[in-house]
């Protein structure tokens, strides 16, 4: 699967986590990768141009990942945007909450590049 035409938005308040995820995505063949440090900044970017995939953290200041996901799913203009939650929230109830809010895939930290690849493959198969 070629990902070079897919546009990705990485959302995490940790600069290091954004770097790690972007590095993994580049290794998978993604070229067009943007980032944002919280849900508010991410929604602004999504409003400016469409993205194929959002990879977002859950625990962030200003707007949490789950609040951000709900905003994305409320917006009919963002229907085609896939959403992966990459988070330290490993509690089952959180995973259920994310699934009910419309997340496409859920990755519990710590994760490796193979796990990220598997989740992305399942979205763009």
């Amino acid at each position: 699967m070629a990902y070079d035409k897919k546009k990705v938005l990485v959302v995490d308040d940790s600069s290091v986590m954004r770097q790690i995820i972007k590095k993994n995505l580049k290794e998978l063949g993604f070229h067009d990768i943007s980032d944002a440090e919280d849900g508010v900044a991410a929604l602004k970017k999504l409003g400016e141009s469409p993205f194929d995939l959002v990879v977002s953290d859950w625990n962030m200041p200003k707007m949490t990942g789950i609040e951000f996901l709900k905003e994305v799913r409320k917006d009919s203009g963002l229907k085609g945007t896939a959403f992966i939650m990459v988070t330290s929230e490993a509690d089952k109830s959180k995973i259920v909450e994310a699934v009910e809010a419309g997340v496409n895939q859920y990755i519990v930290k710590p994760f490796n590049a193979n796990q990220l690849e598997e989740k992305i493959k399942s979205i763009f198969k």
């Binding site: 940790s14 290091v16 770097q19 625990n59 089952k92 710590p110």
Partner: protein, 172 residues
């Protein structure tokens, strides 16, 4: 599930066990090895280092401190990130905060399985010589020392009432 009863000078076993299991599991996943437990000497400090702190509220109010001496922080941060992170770089705080965050998420899940519901805060990071947050007197605490990839890591846990705890509010 009722809140965990906090007795003076007594660390609730459910917290100690969940933290200990989480340290083994998360460090194995991140660093590829199970850390060696080096005891619980409460007088042993880390010297110059960086500390990631998470507070928990719910059935039990407590804090978790994940402390790395300078040398450990540099080595383990590089292993975690896949690229070098100098000790004085602002990203070092991010790395240690993220490690504390990942461990805290695992602990919340483990406590949930035990029927103890807690929510975790965003991480707070402190840096300096033997740095530790100020705690109210008489709060039960415990230090646990580990070696990972030949580097020292210290975990400290302390329990008490929520108004005695420090750290950011969950979701803040």
């Amino acid at each position: 599930m009722a809140a965990i009863e906090i007795k003076e000078n007594e660390m609730p076993v459910v917290i100690t066990n969940c933290v200990s299991d989480s340290v083994s599991s998360i460090f194995k996943k991140i660093f590829g090895v199970v850390p060696e437990y080096d005891g619980d000497d409460n007088s042993k400090n880390i010297g110059d280092g960086v500390v990631g702190i998470i507070s928990f509220v719910g059935d039990a109010s407590w804090i978790l401190m994940l402390a790395f001496p300078k040398d450990s922080a540099e080595t383990l941060a590089e292993k975690f990130c896949g690229f070098e992170v100098p000790y004085d770089n602002p990203d070092m705080g991010d790395v240690i905060g993220e490690l504390a965050n990942v461990m805290a998420g695992d602990i919340v899940a483990r406590m949930g399985v035990q029927g103890v519901k807690v929510a975790m805060s965003l991480p707070t990071v402190l840096r300096g010589q033997n740095v530790e947050p100020f705690m109210a007197k008489g709060i039960p605490d415990k230090k646990m020392h580990y070696t990972v990839l030949g580097k020292d890591v210290m975990i400290k846990i302390a329990v008490g009432n929520s108004n005695e705890m420090m750290g950011a509010t969950p979701g803040a």
